[in-house]
Amino acid sequence: MSVVLTAEKLVKTFPGVRALDEATLTVSAGSVHALLGENGAGKSTLIKLLTGVYRPDGGHIRLAGPDGLREVHFAGPQDAQRVGVGVVHQERNLIPAFSVAENICLQHLPRRNGLLDRARIRSEARRCLDLLDVDIDPDAPVSGLSVAHMQLVEIAKALSADSKVLLLDEPTASLTGDEADRLYAVVRRLCERGHAVVLVSHKLEEIFAVADTVTVLRDGRSVAEAEPLAGHTRDQIVDLMVGRAYQEVRLTPRTPDPTAEPALVLAGVATAAGHHDVNLAVRPGEILGLYGLVGAGRSELAKALLGLEQITAGEVRVHGKAARIRDVGDALRRHRIGYVTENRKEEGLFLSQTIARNTAVTVWRRLSRLGLVRDRAERALVAEYADRLGIRLASPDQLAGQLSGGNQQKVSLAKWLAADCDVLIIDEPTVGIDVRTKAAFHELITGLAGQGMAILLISSDLPEMVTLADRIAVMRDFAVVGELVNDHEYSRMSQSVIRLIHGAQEAA
């Protein structure tokens, strides 16, 4: 197998973050190369450097040519495509109103007599689709396709420029298991035809099923480099990805009272989003983990608790009393339920507003007199929570958009603490946050539980789950498929959880 692409000591710095710190990657023809790492390890940044979206601050990218490996510099995405590096980004990159064929050929729309050469677009698209052996009508508008077919169109688009290297960033995140299997069959076929495929996925089972070699990134560095996957166990790979961080943390021990009345109970809840028969209970001082893959319906369940999705059956009880929650204001003020969203930039923060306003937005009612907010009270509040959460800020008037990811997450948590919630739903609290801040966050969350807060923790990060949760409920396809008491033994717990995810029912 010949090497087709290498990245050597790539460095990329963003304001406040060193996203890549001399990362190295070597990719060979005819193989599937897995690029692994935790959230924030630098995988997507590396992909974006290799495809010309960003320019590196240091290091070299080399590509195989007729006369061996040659260094390349990409001024923009089209440069990378021109030399045969195709990519399917995490974000959907199709024009919905255009046909499949046109989307595939968008980078180099062929012309004849000055007009669009539709016959060639169609034949070109057909050729790319044939490479994948998939049956999609090139003339159909993309907006009418299923998500899985859109993903295949994206791959065809990436192949349209005769790409030798194909980079797939989380291609199965929104696919069902069957769809993912079919997609990987296509990937294997491409390899057999001599393409090199780089695959980023957080689903390790898929990686083990399809990849040949693996590079593991941690904190922007390659900790394993182009090693054959066959020689590794799953646990070894996980150890490489997370380091031993999850074992090093010594958290304040807690002893939640198992007889206390639950602060929040879901009894046989079904929702308009598709949940059915969900039964959960969280006691004060307890952390209930809600684990599942992306798309299992965890965030939707949280939103149903806030009145944003309709509850069609069953009952929600808060402190023993049946509760009908109309909206977030209702959840917050009447039932004292808070929700820390996973999308802090889109849903959690007001990036263009000051930290003071971001923190106090939930409690302006309390801080105001005659409808006017008392500035001094607001500042005192911000100072208190900045201190409690260790938010580094120069002034409360600093804009939230200027903070680093970790501090942003703390601000997005602060407004719920300020609102004195009894029940806090925390959704993916440490996505995109570096390891050290993550540890601080874990300590913070256990601390909150230690003060008697009932916490529903949603996370796709299994080590995090095992570190924090008292019990772990596993969700699949909008239903809870099992609940486990966490004994904090990582290998055993992860085995049980994974088994639940994959179908074997298990009683708690």
Binding site: P15, G16, V17, R18, T252, L306, L308, D327, V328, G329, A331, L332, R333, Y339, T341, E346, E347, G348, L349, F350, L351, S352, Q353, R357, V361, T362, W364, R365, S368, G371, L372, V373, D375, D387, R388, L389, G390, R392, L393, A394, S395, D397, Q398, L399, Q402, L403, S404, N407, K415, A419, D434, R436, T437, A439, A440, E443, L444, G447, G450, Q451
Partner: protein, 358 residues
């Protein structure tokens, strides 16, 4: 309690955190308001040296203040929805409908001046709220909704005037309207002491400015409107009743449009069908000159006052210098373009400076 939540193993500040701890505030010269003040002062000096009549209190300054009052309120009417990142294309027609209601109240019911004003304000707020309701209920872009409303009101107002009057204006002149039109505080004396030469309409605008300023700076309602404008999803997830805030902002816009209509009617001395016809563009001009963007989440009330003042100073000055109304537009447009480009340049330079110094 504090000890429990402060991470005991708080890591030393990573280098990244140190760099970001310094807020990137822009230097004072990057403040667009300051530029406006300077331009206004320079223009006033220029106009008064070119034509001494510019400083004539009775012929120029008093009417100028009256005009500024109208257009400040017009600007605020637009600003009320710009805070959400919305637009109100019907601002002029809302004013027209409200002044119709006022005229009708004076004409048919013979109500006192301020009662009629209250009636008009209520109508303005109601029609604004209606626009807000349609926007929240249907999810259709505010531009489209208010544009359609503008068409609708354009027809309605003319029809109403045709039915209720000779088709152009109400003949009625409620008691106090003439004073509001012609008098300044200098006409009212307490013994020897007379008021300044400020038209009686100015306090109306002043109250509006203070109220709107207070609303967006300190009031929970105003702040929640701004947060809704900055990020509607985050606002909803923070427990803000976003739909009600949208309706409130549009109602406020309608109310201010009604006030502007009243002030213009007072300046003209008649409640007529053409009130509000010239409101749409100035309503954007004043806030935008003052540094309010269309994105929502931030407003500048003071900037709007300065923006309206600048445009009216230019109008008045060039008018005295015998420029025609249409020529004036040319200059206003150029000033707007220059102000925007400079603003952008300032922002870029300031940003660069802030980055290089951190």
């Amino acid at each position: 309690m504090k000890t429990a939540t402060t991470p005991p193993a708080a890591p030393p500040a990573p280098p990244a955190a140190v760099a970001e701890a310094r807020p990137r505030t822009l230097p004072f010269w990057a403040n667009p308001r300051l530029g406006l003040v300077i331009v206004i002062v320079v223009l006033v000096a220029l106009f008064s040296s070119l034509t001494p009549a510019f400083l004539d209190p009775r012929l120029t300054l008093a009417p100028l203040q009256a005009d500024i009052s109208v257009y400040v309120v017009v600007g605020l009417a637009q600003l009320a929805v710009l805070s959400l990142g919305h637009m109100n294309m019907a601002v002029g027609r809302m004013a027209a409908l409200s002044t119709f209601a006022m005229g009708l109240a004076y004409d048919r019911l013979g109500v006192p001046l301020l009662v009629g004003l209250a009636v008009g304000l209520a109508v303005g707020a109601a029609i604004g709220a209606l626009a807000g309701l349609v926007i929240t209920k249907t999810g259709v872009n505010s531009f489209v909704v208010t544009l359609a409303l503008d068409f609708g009101l354009l027809g309605l107002v003319t029809i109403l005037y045709t039915r209720a009057t000779d088709g152009v204006a109400f003949a009625v002149k409620p008691a106090g309207l003439a004073e509001l039109r012609f008098d300044t505080f200098a006409d009212y004396c307490l013994g020897e002491v007379c008021g300044p030469r400020v038209p009686l309409v100015v306090p109306f605008a002043l109250v509006a400015v203070l109220a709107v300023g207070l609303l967006f700076r300190y009031a929970r309602l105003g702040r929640e409107i701004l947060m809704t404008g900055a990020n509607p999803v985050a606002a909803q997830l923070s427990g803000i009743p976003t739909h009600r805030r949208v309706v409130a902002a549009h109602a406020l816009s309608g109310l201010l449009a009604a006030l502007a209509g009243f002030l213009l009617a007072a300046n003209n001395g008649a409640f007529s069908a053409n009130v509000g016809e010239s409101f749409l563009l100035p309503s954007f001009l004043a806030p935008v000159l003052g540094g309010t963007l269309l994105a929502g989440g931030a407003v500048s009330v003071l900037g709007t006052v300065l923006g309206a003042t600048l445009t009216q100073v230019i109008y008045k000055g060039l008018n005295l210098l015998q420029f025609s109304l249409e020529d004036l537009k040319l200059y206003i447009g150029l000033v707007l373009l220059a102000a925007l480009s400079l603003d952008r340049l300032r922002a870029v330079l300031a940003e660069r400076r802030a980055v290089s110094s951190s």
